[in-house]
């Protein structure tokens, strides 16, 4: 992993969890859902109840990696008039109130449109840790390598059950902070169990030299977190939190985070 001189905020958060004998808990929320302040409040509730890293997703018109729950939330955020630049207010709002590392998850076109350098500068200024990029592979990421190095941001790329050994090695090497292991061939969404493919992906990433691998897609319960903790450094929960936020509000998000956190203790 390329971590040379840059101190990775998400790596630090995951290592802190490791030093405490825990699996890192990473929680996803869409920016601007239900509104900007609501996102900040829900993220702070996540952090206060045990999330080590917060992932804020930018609502995008064409989210090909997202399932129905997250699509519905991001569509609502866009209909409410969410603007991309508000993600920096959200990141700053969260980092000013809690210690969690805050990553932004975004499809690539909104970043391109603002300008990769400009986007990166503003994210760093807001206290953001870096980006998770579901539709940007290292092969196309030259501009992002440059900007993320310049502003000291993490670049979290995805690896999948279908990644070849060559691509796994290349993607692990390109990543900073952690590697996002997609647990299943599919899109985001709560599932009753974590795919058995997840462990193989994580093992392949470790074998390729990844120090920190976190598992996402289909992770929704404390039991899943516990299971993943046996072989990975972190578990990423999205859809379950978004559904809870939509149905029951901020307090319920905090409660679910605490419940998920109960699964982070490694035996």
């Amino acid at each position: 992993m390329n971590s040379a001189a840059i101190a990775s905020k998400s790596a630090a958060a995951i290592e802190k969890a490791r030093s405490e004998g825990r699996t890192a808990l990473i929680g996803y929320l869409p920016a601007g859902y239900p509104d900007v302040q609501g996102t900040i409040d829900a993220a702070v509730a996540l952090a206060e109840n045990g999330a080590d890293v917060i992932e804020i997703g930018i609502p995008y018109s064409d989210p090909v990696m997202d399932g129905q729950v997250i699509q519905a939330a991001t569509v609502q955020a866009l209909e409410n008039g969410f603007r991309v630049r508000q993600v920096f207010d959200i990141v700053a709002g969260i980092t000013s109130r809690c210690e969690a590392a805050v990553l932004v998850m975004t499809y690539w076109n909104p970043v391109m449109r603002m300008g990769v350098d400009e986007f990166s500068r503003r994210l760093a200024e807001a206290g953001g840790a870096g980006l998770i990029t579901p539709d940007l592979i290292p092969d196309e990421a030259a501009e992002w390598f440059e900007a993320s190095d310049k502003y000291g941001l993490d670049r979290v790329f995805l690896v999948a059950p279908s990644s070849t050994p060559e691509r796994m090695a290349m993607t692990v090497k390109a990543s900073r902070g952690f590697v996002y292991a997609v647990s299943i061939m599919g899109v985001t969404g709560a599932r009753t169990s974590v795919s058995s493919a997840a462990q193989q992906v994580v093992e392949a990433a470790h074998a390729a030299g990844a120090e920190r691998v976190c598992v996402g897609l289909g992770v929704s319960q404390a039991e899943h977190v516990r299971e993943i903790g046996a072989y990975a450094e972190g578990a990423i929960v999205g859809t379950a939190l978004v559904a809870t936020l939509g149905a029951e509000g901020v307090e319920a998000v905090g409660k679910l985070a605490a419940e998920l956190h109960s699964g982070t203790t490694k035996n």
Partner: protein
């Protein structure tokens, strides 16, 4: 295309424009990049499938048996070669330039789409896949995909915006008659681009058994080069036919552009003939001074959508803007990356044609040639009238100007829309109601 992250090279992609300007060839551009366009802006989960497709395609192109298989289907199933018909009475309205129509409307299923679906369905079989998925707007590509699937014994699922499935009920029935399953897409704006999103989601989940049969020369590498390959037959035939009929190359070639598959197919035959001007006509909708159009190259700016970097209709935040056109087949906010490149280097010119101009050309072709064109193709016809007047201007012998137009599809599907447009229906008839909804029968 894998490169070490330590050696980024964005912005330094080899510029083939230099090669062309210094006498090199623009034909058979392999991708993944066309100048600064193209590439693979795709989830990692799908990269292995794109690599598999690329590998299968490369081997197939070099395999005489595959080439013979495609040629046999083109000849004995699609009805190729398609005719090149001189439109003598229509020509009088183009300043007297001689206009020749490349008759893709005469192919089986009524448009150029069949060329690509047969080729890709054969590739799917070579990869051992048993299921194809496709997106469709009005239903043309969905019907073509369902046709290929029926012919070759593949399961077929077509994603279509929920609103479109209601408006295009007869095309849904067509696909179902051919054995396909049509899934209405209720996500996002419920249009063609959302149908593509949903097909991509299906593909990620089912990639082991499923080939995504993309309908246009856009998307992630290798799709732009692959879809073009199967449509190159249009340009190859047209070039040979125009030489046989007139003894020389045309002055201009005109095509309509949505994603751009028919256009890239016919352009390809003439790319290395610098004397032949290439024109792509985008859907200008209600006008490029309104926000209801699909003039992607004319008014868009580069961005990434559905896997490729290309011109894109997007807002200040990089959100995709919904396109509008009377022609469902051109109603797409993106465009194939090779067109973006050909536009930037000036090899092809891209101009908007409004709904109204297209419908005038539609009626003109009906009445002067006895051919009902697709509304998509009518954009190319309207453009050809414009180009004809320009090229013949001040000429003693306007008939010395020769223009080839790709008549990419027939207009049977557009009769209700046209009848509504020209007010041919009793206002209380069910057909009028359907036409008002943009139905294409």
């Amino acid at each position: 295309m894998t490169q070490s992250p330590e050696t980024p090279d964005a912005g330094e992609k080899p510029d083939a424009a230099d090669a062309f300007l210094s006498g090199g060839s623009l034909r058979h551009a392999p991708g993944p990049y066309f100048g600064n366009y193209g590439g693979r802006w795709m989830p990692e989960s799908l990269i292995a499938a794109l690599d598999e497709l690329q590998d299968t395609f490369d081997k197939a192109k070099a395999d005489p048996e595959f080439i013979a298989q495609v040629a046999e289907l083109n000849r004995n199933y699609s009805g190729r070669p398609s005719l090149l018909t001189e439109a003598k009475r229509f020509s009088a309205h183009a300043g007297g330039a001689r206009i020749f129509l490349k008759r893709e409307d005469l192919n089986h299923t009524g448009s150029h789409k069949i060329n690509n679906v047969l080729g890709q369905a054969l590739l799917a079989k070579r990869m051992g896949k048993t299921r194809i998925i496709a997106e469709t707007g009005a239903g043309q590509h969905g019907v073509a995909s369902a046709t290929a699937a029926a012919l070759l014994g593949l399961e077929c699922v077509v994603y279509m915006g929920a609103e479109d499935t209601r408006r295009q009920a007869l095309n849904v029935a067509r696909m179902e008659l051919l054995g396909a399953t049509v899934i209405p897409v209720t996500a996002g704006s419920q249009t063609l681009k959302d149908a593509i999103n949903e097909a991509l989601r299906d593909w990620v989940a089912n990639v082991h058994t499923t080939h995504y049969l993309l309908g246009t020369a856009a998307g992630a590498h290798p799709f732009p080069a692959l879809v073009r390959y199967f449509h190159e037959v249009i340009g190859d035939e047209a070039r040979e036919q125009i030489l046989a009929q007139t003894g020389r190359l045309p002055d201009a070639v005109c095509a309509c552009i949505g994603g751009g598959s028919n256009a890239i197919g016919i352009f390809h035959g003439f790319l290395d003939d610098p004397s032949v001007e290439l024109y792509g006509f985008e859907a200008g909708g209600e006008g490029v001074d309104t926000d209801r159009h699909a003039a992607t190259i004319t008014l868009g700016r580069p961005g990434v959508l559905h896997g490729a970097r290309s011109y894109l209709m997007q807002d200040e935040d990089g959100q995709t803007i919904e396109s509008h056109s009377i022609s469902a087949g051109l109603d797409y906010p993106g465009v194939g990356p090779e067109h973006s490149y050909l536009s930037d280097i000036g090899r092809a010119k891209y101009e908007p044609v409004t709904d109204s101009e297209a419908m005038d050309a539609f009626r003109l072709l009906c009445r002067t040639e006895g051919i009902i064109p697709a509304i998509e193709s009518s954009h190319a016809l309207a453009g050809a009238l414009r180009v004809g007047k320009k090229l013949t201007s001040g000429k003693q012998n306007p008939q010395d100007v020769i223009i080839v137009v790709n008549l990419s599809g027939r207009g049977d599907k557009d009769v209700a829309t046209a009848a509504e447009w020209f007010d041919l229906l009793d206002g209380n008839s069910p057909e009028a109601e359907i036409g008002a909804e943009g139905e294409q029968l």
